[in-house]
Symmetry: C2
Subunit: 242 residues, 2 copies
DNA sequence: CGTTCCATTGACCGAAATCAAGTCCTGTGG
DNA sequence: CCACAGGACTTGATTTCGGTCAATGGAACG
C-alpha cells in the first residue's frame, strides 16, 4: 500500500519542478518500496554503506556528525522532499548519520540503480546533480550563518528558513508549522549551547516575533524576523524531486 | 598553447580517479580553452550567470559570500583540481563569488555543454555528481568545525586540511606548501576575528606545530597538529577530476 | 509516586571580539 | 635616493557574548 509517484502529495508543491507523466512512470519504476520508521530510528549511519537511497515523503529528521571530542553537529534538518543517501550512493560511505525525529515515511531506491539511471535517464541524473548543487548551496549558507551571525541572528535565521521550507511543502496552518525537535537539536545545529539557545528563543518570544513551543513553531512577524536574521525574503527557487 | 588533458599535471596525482585514454580525449573535447587571471580577479560573481564552468589547473582562490551586514564568509579555499561554477551551471545563478588570490590558470568548459554531457557521457555526468557530493561532504565538515571546534582547533583543522590538500596535488616541498592568502582570509573562513586568528597562529608557531608566514605554510608536527584539530588522519579518498 | 527527559532561569566565568597602537614592507613619486 | 602612504601583521588592554554550572519545574511514563 505504498504511495504512487503519480499521487505524491509533495509533487505538486511549487518548490519542486514539475514532471511529465512518463517521467513519473519512470520514477515509479526506480522506486523499490517505502520505509516507515519510528522516532529515534537511525536511518543512515556514519561510516556505513547503505544499499539504499531515499526521498523523504513524510516526517522530519536530523543529519549530523559526531566529532572526536564527542560533540554533535547537526548539519541540517531533514524535511519532506529531501533526498538522502547520495553520498553513500556515489562515494560508497556515509559521512554523516541521519536519524528520524518524528515518525517518517521514506521512498526507497536501490543504490545500485543509480548508475543505470545515469546511463538511461540523463534528465533524472541531471536532477540528481541539481539536488546536490542545491544542497551545496544550503550548506554554504549555513557556513555563513555559523561564521558571521551572532546567536540571535542565527536562531532567527534558522527559524525563518525552517518555517519557509515547511510552508513550501504545505505544512503551514495559520502562520504555524509543526516542529518536533528538541532545543538541543537546534543548539547543535547552530553551534550554540542549549542554555543560550533557550534564552534567545525566549527573547524572540517576548519580542513577539516567533514562538516555538510544544512542537509548534509560530512565526508572528516574518518580515521583522527575517530582517533580524539578515535574510532577504525572495521567492524560493525550485528544485527537482525524485 | 593550452595544456592537453593527456598531459594534465594533476591527472596522475592519486587523489584523482584515473581516466582512460578515450575518456581523456572526450574531456579534451569538452574543454573549450584556458583562462589565466591575475591575483585579485573575480572569476565568478554572486548573483551573476556565468556561461562557463571551470576546473582549476594552477593557482589558488577563495569562494565567498557577503552577508547583508557586510561581513564576508569564505566558504572554502579553491585549489588546483577544484571544479567551480557547477551551481550556476545547473541552477542558473551563482550563489557565491570566486576570486583569484594568486594568479590562476583555469580549464574552461562551456556551460551549455553540460546537458549534452549528461546525455552522451553518463560516466562523466556521474563524475560531476560525485564531485558535488564530495564538495557537500567537505562543507559538512566545515559546518562541524565552525559549530563545534574552538578557535585553536579550527585553525589547526584548517591548516591540516589545506596542507594535505596541497600535498595531494604535489605542491609540498619538505613539509611546507605555498599558501598566499592573508590572515584575514583564514579568519573569514573560520568565523574568527583577524586579531584572534593572528594570536592563535602565533601560539601554533610557538608550540612548534605549524608555521605560516610569507606565503609559506610549514607543518612541523603533523600528528600532534591533527590531534589538536580533532582530525583523524586517514588516507584521503579519491575523487574525479574533470 | 519515583524516574527520566526536556525546558527554564540565575550566577559566574572565560574565550574571543573589539579597540588601539605600533612595526614591517613594498611600491610610488618627489 | 629618500619620504611617505597603504597593506598586512603584531601585540596589549578592555569588553562582551555566550558557555558552563547549578537548581528548579513540569510532563510523560512505568
Amino acid at each position: 500500500m505504498t504511495t504512487d509517484c503519480q499521487d505524491c502529495p509533495l509533487r505538486n508543491r511549487d518548490i519542486f519542478n514539475p514532471m511529465s507523466k512518463e517521467e513519473l512512470t519512470f520514477t515509479q519504476g526506480f522506486k523499490t518500496g517505502e520505509l516507515v520508521v519510528d522516532p529515534g530510528t537511525t536511518i543512515l549511519l556514519e561510516g556505513s554503506n547503505s544499499p539504499q537511497v531515499y526521498t523523504v515523503l513524510k516526517g522530519m529528521g536530523t543529519r549530523y556528525t559526531t566529532l572526536e571530542n564527542g560533540r554533535r553537529q547537526v548539519i541540517n534538518f531533514i524535511f519532506p522532499g529531501d533526498f538522502i543517501g547520495l553520498q553513500a550512493g556515489l562515494m560508497g560511505e556515509m559521512k554523516h548519520s541521519v536519524e528520524a525525529t518524528t515518525s517518517m515515511t521514506l521512498c526507497v531506491f536501490r543504490r545500485s540503480e543509480i548508475f543505470r539511471l545515469f546511463e538511461q535517464y540523463p534528465a533524472r541524473a541531471y536532477d540528481l546533480t541539481w539536488i546536490a548543487a542545491v544542497e551545496e548551496h544550503f550548506l554554504g549558507e549555513t557556513i555563513a550563518s555559523l561564521g558571521q551571525r551572532d546567536a540571535s541572528q542565527r536562531i532567527a535565521w534558522a527559524l525563518v528558513r525552517i518555517y519557509l521550507r515547511l510552508r513550501a511543502v504545505g505544512l503551514e496552518e495559520g502562520h504555524t508549522v509543526p516542529l518536533a525537535y528538541r532545543q538541543q537539536d537546534l543548539a547543535d545545529a547552530l553551534g550554540l549551547s542549549l542554555v543560550h539557545t533557550n534564552k534567545r528563543l525566549k527573547a524572540l518570544r517576548d519580542a513577539g516575533l516567533a514562538d516555538w513551543q510544544n512542537g509548534l513553531l509560530s512565526i508572528t512577524d516574518l518580515d521583522t524576523l527575517a530582517e533580524r536574521a539578515l535574510i532577504d525574503l525572495e521567492k524560493p527557487e525550485r528544485r527537482p524531486l525524485i
